[in-house]
Amino acid sequence: MNRTHHRSFKAILFHPTAKGMLLLIPALTALIILFVIPIYRIFHLSLFDPHFTLKYYLAFFQRPVYMRVMWITVKISLIVTAACLFVGYPFALVLSRAGEKLSKLFIVCIILSMCISLLVRNFSWIIILQRSGIVDTFLMKVGLTHHHVKLLHNLFSVVLGMTEILLPYMILPIFSVLKSIDPNLPQAAQTMGARPWQAFWWVTFPLSLPGVYAGFLLVFIMSLGYFITPALLGGAREMMISNMIAFQVQTVLNWHFAAGLSMILLIATLIFYAIFNKAVGLEKLENLGV
């Protein structure tokens, strides 16, 4: 690389670092103008009105309703993440053990579900769960119940809807880790006298933990900022922090407070993301089917 000692301007231009920086300029400019500055303005808005003040952050911690929203957000996120784990892990396991044709079919279903419009998927749950909807009618016809069952606009419908959307983000990392485990290892354990479930519990499961961490954090982080599903499938009590931000901006017109809430959500997300990065590594994101 010492060829760059030539004095000409062209030579400087072709210095690898300079070349790299030049290539970076367009996207970096766009990102700074259209992303960094707008978000910085929100940050500024949360602290200045018009002079420096912490009142919008203090309001968050002092008024019980906002702590409640935060608690609801964390609660829903945890339930959804757990649901994804309890459905996603066995499914990934089945997927890794299934024959070629079957596993292909399952994977097509996963990817297809990810390709379908988010609103379409939320809408279908409304149709399925609403009063006199598919499930309600079915339950009454079968005779399991004589009254209408409330299935929509509650915690259940939000968790069902969010899990359907976020499940692939749990399945894919676990599956990719399970797939990479040497099949001889659990087999060896079995030939040494372990029962199949013992072989799974002592050999396969510990080896698959990195996938579990990745899926867990990914789903949890995505849940924290969820907006559409709680708004469409949730009832009064399923107001998550994103919905609160929208409410502050659209109805109450309190931009400063909305900015404060946004910063709190952002900081929470970044903290969990840093943990994710430490535990899993950013560069592995591309293997997660994202």
Partner: protein, 261 residues
């Protein structure tokens, strides 16, 4: 295979099929429903009818929304692809603070959408960009950029840098090297990234809720209004069309990845 093992297999298959059905439940519900009458939703539909489709095809506002979404998605995916390819190429060189820059470029994917939406809404209002196609294109370019960078970077990782070096030493100019050597090599990653960007932009709802209202209404924004406020009877038909569209995209992606192998 003993009986026990066969039983386990069967349970596994049943479980797998059930989860798969759960994942694509919208297809089983909305497709049959779309062929019912347009007056009310009931499942299974009481009679066969294409009324919803007829209504949909004659509805100018819905077509306008589709056109807006199409235009925005094409432009956003184009800009995101160009910027994403350049960035991915840049990342191969020695650059100061590379880790930080990498994280910065991925950040639109990590920052909760509501924050991006609110931030852009307040920022764009200053420049008369709210409710305009350029505003939406800019927002979606930034949102889809990480996906292009990730897919193109993945292709670049497998790329042998000696090919480009060889071309350069043989006297090819940098643009020539790019168009004749690099681009064909990363073509597949770039196309996949562009398709991803297109799909994400076409389906993007949260930012559109804030940025589009009367002039530049995107399809998701119109669907959002319809689901929340009026439940128009054409929604199952529209959903079916979008599902069909998703299947086509899936086939396209599959064909692309086949070529690889």
């Amino acid at each position: 295979m003993d009986v026990n093992e066969r039983k386990i297999r069967l349970i596994e298959i049943i479980f797998g099929v059930l989860v798969s059905i759960y994942l694509i439940a919208p297809i089983f519900v909305l497709v049959p429903m779309s062929f019912g009458p347009a007056r009310f939703f009931s499942f299974p539909p009481p009679e066969f009818s294409v009324e919803q489709y007829v209504k949909f095809f004659h509805s100018a506002p819905w077509w306008r929304a589709i056109r807006v979404s199409f235009e925005v998605a094409v432009m956003a995916s184009f800009f995101a692809s160009v910027l994403g390819i350049l960035t991915s190429l840049a990342m191969r060189y020695k650059i100061p603070a590379k880790g930080f820059l990498n994280a910065l470029f991925i950040s639109p994917m990590i920052v909760p959408l509501i924050i991006t939406a609110v931030a852009l809404y307040s920022f764009f209002a200053k420049f008369h960009l709210v409710d305009t196609i350029p505003g939406l294109v800019m927002a979606h370019t930034i949102l889809t950029l990480p996906f292009v960078i990730i897919t193109v970077s993945a292709t670049l990782k497998g790329l042998d840098p000696s090919l480009e070096k060889a071309a350069a030493t043989l006297g090819a100019s940098p643009p020539k090297v790019f168009f004749k050597v690099t681009l064909p090599l990363i073509k597949r990653g770039a196309i996949t990234g562009a398709i991803f960007a297109y799909m994400i932009s076409f389906d993007e709802t949260v930012v559109a809720i804030f940025l589009s209202s009367s002039h530049a209404i995107t399809l998701p924004k119109k669907m959002w209004d319809s689901i929340r406020f009026s439940i128009e009877p054409i929604l199952p038909a529209l959903s079916t069309i979008l599902i069909l569209f998703a299947i086509l995209m899936l086939i396209l992606l599959e064909v692309l990845s086949r070529k690889k192998g």
